[in-house]
Amino acid sequence: MIRLESVEKRYDSQPVLRGVSLSVEAGELLSLVGRSGSGKSTLLHIMGGLDRRYAGKASVLGHDLHALEDAALARFRNREVGFIFQSFNLLDHLTARENVALPSYFADAAAADVARRAAEALDRVGIGDKADARPSALSGGQKQRVAIARALVHQPKLLLCDEPTGNLDSDTGQQIIELFRTLNKDGLTLVIVTHEERVSSVASRVLRLVDGRLAS
């Protein structure tokens, strides 16, 4: 599903990733751990096609990400992968339903499909009753569930999560971890960047990044 070969990345002259090679198979729940600044988020962004300024080869879901044009890359991010961020990245002026529906605006979906898919995704993460609430009226856990619903709305094959429990209390974080485990059991491949051991404990494989290199 994911093949990275000798991926290198620098910010200015500072190396962040130093020849990272890895592969992820379909159905895996991979945890990428490491200290702050070790390059975990950068690696996740490269896997998701958010960052194309790197050296080496990244092939995700059969796409050579370097070779994709902007429109094709946007389609890839829209339909084949879902992103979850530590700070949720919901749009404050939109309701939960509108936030979840947002990816469908860029997918040439019919209006009826957009509404149906958004409702289904919200139900799937257990907050169908909060569809009309704005993010400011939601708790941290609810916000993250909305963000997960948004990532799932187009039923992607791969979910990329960047510190998904970083802004949540331990109970809420545990619920989110359970949700990930359920999604993984349903066949979804997940790559979770985290520095929390409890997240890693549910992973089928754990990879550690140290100073831009894979340590194990």
Binding site: S41, A74, R77, F83, D108
Partner: protein
């Protein structure tokens, strides 16, 4: 991205920043209001000046004024202005640029006129300056009650008016029944009368009501004698009746206009040897080259009468340009303001744009989104600007009707809001906003998702 989705996103974005949206709309609407106002004013004034005061779309060919006259001409072999002949008129009439040609001849002898008691309350006496015009020139006019045609009547012998058919009279010199000579006057004469004579003498002004009543009024003319002098010919002066059949922009500006045949016949009697034609009016086909026609006229040794239209048109164009430049400057300032506002908005929404990119927006989606927001601002600003301009125009017209004294050719409205102007102003508004938002949109589209997300 589908248009429906684009509309939804634009609506969401604009409705959350209403203050900024309103300020941008206000800025552009001021510029567009001013642009539409001045363009409509120029178009309205142009319509009055070039439609009524100095009609355009026609050239009046006259004998060349540059020909050498007097003793120098006599000794140098030149014999004065080259007369406009029937043959020259036919040649010019058949040119491809010409839609229609109308002959004109000036009355070349003294004459006087009196009448008007029925409508003005007392008889009005004047020297008569008359011009014969081809009746075809009035073919499209709605005149009445008599047709504008060479109609010399039944010619039944008579000794008194009662012996003639209805509408005819019996001239004492010919003792043959005749219909009155049909005549038209130009709106210019009416305005001149209203602006000077009526004001100075206390006579009633000719408005729309009186203008209608002028039709059918009969007055007298005396051919071959005026208040100043008499004709050089030995023919006795004769009196005729003239019936006013209408007011027409095709009439001679400062003369009584009668059908061509009358003046030609009278000239033969009272001014033998006078030129057969005074001028030839050429109506130019739409889109035809006036320049080539003018060159052909000059090439044949004739001149184009200066109607003043060219200078008036140039003056209006210059004033329009000046106002349009000021308005464009205002629109440009609004566009710069919009650019500034959008740069700020893009900077503020950097992270949000990054989120959109991460969930599937392409750079062109982002660019379209920013430009569509600008277009909506332009559309709203354009509509508000046009409505404002129309309201200002309405107020000025109403104020003019109420407080500005009558003057020659005073129009009902000074403005002309044609569809072209509306489309131009609206297009200009949308274009200015989109131009203003072009660079911010480009910058937004170029944002790398990862940079935007980590900002």
């Amino acid at each position: 991205m589908r248009s429906r989705a684009l509309v939804a996103l634009v609506r969401q974005n604009l409705s959350r920043s209403r203050r900024s949206f309103a300020l941008s709309v206000f800025g552009i609407s001021v510029g567009i209001a001013s642009l539409a106002f001045f363009l409509a004013l120029s178009a309205g004034v142009r319509q009055v000046v070039l439609g009524k005061v100095f009609p355009i779309g026609q050239l009046e060919v006259v004998p060349s004024r540059s020909s050498v006259e007097g003793p120098i001409g006599l000794f140098s072999g030149f014999s004065g202005p080259k007369p406009l002949t029937e043959e020259a008129a036919r040649t010019l009439s058949s040119r491809p640029e010409v839609k229609a040609a109308f002959r004109r001849v000036k009355m070349a002898f003294p004459a006087r006129a009196w009448g008007g008691q029925e409508i003005l309350g007392k008889n009005f006496y004047t020297e008569l300056v008359a011009e014969g015009v081809d009746p075809a020139a009035m073919a499209d006019e709605s005149l009445g009650p008599e047709a504008f045609a060479d109609n010399l009547g039944s010619h039944n012998r008579c000794n008194a008016d009662a012996e003639c058919a209805s509408g005819e009279y019996c001239p004492w010199d010919t003792h043959a029944c005749e219909r009155p000579v049909p005549a038209v006057i130009s709106p210019f004469i009416v305005e001149l009368y209203n602006g000077t004579l009526a004001t100075q003498t206390g006579l009633p002004k000719i408005g729309k009501f009186l203008a209608g009543r002028l039709r059918g009024i009969v007055f007298n003319i005396e051919l071959g004698r005026s208040f100043i002098g008499a004709s050089k010919s030995s023919v006795e002066p004769h009196q005729r009746k003239v019936m006013l059949v209408g007011i027409s922009p095709h009439a001679a500006q400062l003369a009584l206009t009668v059908p061509l045949g009358y003046v030609q016949a009278w000239n033969r009697q009272y001014a033998p040897g006078s030129p057969p034609l005074s001028s030839l009016v050429l109506e130019v086909k739409e889109g035809a080259s006036v320049t080539s026609l003018t060159a052909a006229v000059r090439g044949m040794g004739y001149d184009i009468a200066d109607s003043g239209a060219e200078r008036a048109g140039l003056a209006i164009t210059l004033v329009t340009l000046l106002f349009a430049l000021v308005s464009f400057a205002m629109v440009s300032i609004a566009a710069i303001n919009i650019a500034h506002s959008f740069f700020r908005t893009v900077a503020e929404r950097r992270r949000e744009l990054g989120v959109m990119r991460s969930i599937g927006a392409s750079s062109s989606d982002v660019r379209r989104l920013v430009l569509a927001e600008a277009a909506v601002i332009g559309l709203c600003g354009g509509v508000i600007g046009l409505v404002t301009a129309r309201l200002f125009a309405f107020v000025i017209d109403a104020a003019s009707r109420r407080w500005v004294p009558d003057f020659p050719f005073k129009p009902d409205t000074y403005f002309s809001f044609g569809w072209t102007l509306l489309a131009l102003a609206l297009g200009c508004s949308i274009l200015a906003c989109m131009l203003g938002a072009f660079w911010p949109a480009r910058a937004a589209a170029r944002l790398e998702p990862t940079e935007a997300l980590t900002s």
